[in-house]
Amino acid sequence: MAGLLNHFAVTEEQLDLNALLAGITRDSTGAAAIFTGMVRGRSSRPGFPAETNYLEYEAYVPMAEEKMRQVAGEIRERWPDVEGIAIVQRIGVLYPRTPTVLIACTAAHRDTGVFEAARYGIDRLKQIVPIWKKEVGPGGAEWIQGDHRPSPGVD
């Protein structure tokens, strides 16, 4: 699959959206859909911590980057007009308002599925990419546990 514009990373560095976008842009590119997640400092949704001081992320880095590659492959299968895909997770101690994750998909035009592709990317990342976060708030520290059990051979 030479020539595919892919960028997968687990990093402790700040996410630079400008650079990440430029990295998956080529001459034929006319549109990008980007998702970013941020640390919520407070939440009113039931089941979520009302107040968070910070999150601490860890990852099984080589497997995470492999699984990001798999997610990108699934995206290309479903939306073959997607040109570039960046999937980046920041790890370490991250404070409220900080972008923690980015999924960006580029294509020639916006009607190619780029929005759906980015949405699919973040949904799949949260299912199968081995990353975990511990929430530290006024009540102490707690690992946040996902609810997806991957099916070997499928996930």
Binding site: V101, W143, Q145
Partner: protein, 81 residues
């Protein structure tokens, strides 16, 4: 045979460390590994049933047969993003 065990998140806390070299009989399965681990590391036992397992960076079911030098990771359902 020897395999390399990795622990993440709640499993790492329970294991008290991130990595462990582990001795197993040849052709042991993931299921047998978990059973053995529960015996040798009782603090891990309560976590093993709900934990996910990867072998050489791929999700692996209990019946997966292990080989010398495999990298086996144990961790809870993921929560990245």
């Amino acid at each position: 045979m020897k395999i390399k065990l990795l622990f993440f998140a709640t499993l790492r806390d329970a294991a008290g460390g991130r990595a462990l070299d582990f001795e197993l009989k040849p052709e042991a399965t993931v299921g047998e590994l978990l059973e053995r681990l529960g015996e040798t590391h009782p603090r891990l036992a309560p976590h093993l049933e709900s934990s996910l397992v990867s072998v050489n960076k791929e999700y692996a079911p209990a019946e997966t047969v292990l080989s010398e030098g495999d990298e086996v990771a144990l961790f809870p359902p993921v929560s990245g993003g």
